[in-house]
Symmetry: C2
Subunit: 262 residues, 2 copies
């Protein structure tokens, strides 16, 4: 984007996340890209991690204009990350943005995490709506995490995607290793690893001696491939996984058409 | 399953849903399959429609044994449909069931609905855990809907899948047309149609004159294929879409590897 280009020619960049407007990650994402276009932020008013592709049914939604950063139109939404994208298009922008960015998430969204992630569900929702979308996650859950490398690569990838007409359903899941910028070897386009959590709920008793359960789990990588996001991140690459919303398992489709009589 | 087979040899059938334990649909599903194995029910204590693949992070979960139907072990869970599956495996069954069934949902889960659906997310979660899984949905949202055809086809499909060793990640999205049993032409294995909602939030004002928004939308089918679930259902077939949790878009992966310098 050259200097002097009129605002109306600048791409409209919708930004959301799942950690809410108060998370440092979304501020870092805005800072990383704000001179690449007109940034409009519509993000949840409270943390929405693990909300997956949830939408709000049965309750109405609220939308409030707030101030977060000078020159950046920002709205706080009472719904899920997916609700934010839907409301942003229909009631804030009243048109489709040129790109939708989500994040930068505090914590990994590689492998199976993509399916639980509010960050990635917001990006997937945009791609369903024909809006090219990118979700960014840094492999560090801390509020004090160093976002230097994440910001650099987020900007680089957004510039790349804005540089030409993108696939209308383009959706990228970008994870950034928790490593010093100098140690990161570059970007790798990957597939989603088959890696998941082995659940082990912690059972506790409340003061009334009634049981309750905390979700905990150990992350296990069952995938030995060197073309996966988990492999790339372990080897200090930024991983980029193109994501789809067609959940049809075409291989299984052929298999079950043959092996059962329908 | 022949009569006289010992309980311990019977397949263990985990049943859940997203409409909660009070919905007629789950009772119909239990009735449809309860003599095919040992049925254990772990389902949400409140409606969880549209929860997608949400999991409960930051709050603990409750699990209560309840009575729903004679001879059927039933647990009420405070979490999402995905939480129900995780808790059922770890704390109720303490092992993997032979199959996980979800539904019968009151309302369609074809096409893009699969991604928002708590019913289908529960089934997908089971398939991630190597448990063959099937989600059932009837194209009628009414509490008084006629489940006769839905029950018949649910049983038929469960029998089919239990009849041989299933793919460990098998996950089927089954939708049943809202039609009299006599009019249903059979079962079609399909792909997910590209059909979605065109959102149009309704803006209203509360008694304090503050705006709020209701999610509404018109369902639009952009997919002219005759191999889709939407086509099958429109033509009075039961649709069966094999579903996957690998969201990698392999076609887009090849495209972006070629068309951008990474």
């Amino acid at each position: 984007m050259k200097k002097g280009v009129k605002t109306k020619d600048k791409p409209v960049i919708l930004i959301t996340n799942d950690d809410s407007l108060t998370a440092p990650g979304i501020k870092h994402l805005i800072e990383a890209v704000k001179d690449l276009g007109r940034v409009v932020v519509v993000a949840p008013d409270k943390p929405q991690s693990g909300m997956g592709h949830a939408i709000t049914i049965g309750y109405p939604l609220r939308l409030h204009k707030v101030h977060m950063m000078d020159g950046v139109e920002t709205w706080s939404c009472s719904g899920t990350p997916v609700d934010c994208v839907k409301l942003a298009v229909d009631k804030v922008l009243r048109k489709k943005p040129d790109i939708c960015l989500s994040g930068i998430n505090h914590g990994a969204n590689h492998s199976i995490n993509v399916i639980y992630s509010g960050t990635m569900s917001a990006a997937i929702e945009a791609s369903i709506e024909n809006i090219p979308a990118i979700g960014f996650s840094l492999l560090n859950m801390s509020l004090e995490a160093d976002f230097t490398a994440a910001k650099k690569y987020a900007r680089l990838i957004v510039e790349k995607i804005l540089s030409k007409k993108a696939d209308k359903h383009l959706c990228l899941n970008v994870n950034i290793p928790n490593a010093d910028e100098s140690l990161i070897k570059g970007i790798k386009v990957c597939r989603q690893a088959y890696a998941k959590y082995e659940e082990d709920f912690q059972e506790r008793k409340d003061p009334m001696s009634k049981k309750y359960y905390w979700l905990t789990g150990e992350f296990v990588n069952f995938d030995k491939g060197t073309d996966t996001d988990v492999w790339a991140l372990k080897n200090n690459f930024v991983s980029v996984v193109p994501v789809q919303f067609d959940l049809t398992n075409y291989i299984l489709k052929k298999k079950i058409e043959k092996s059962y009589k329908w």
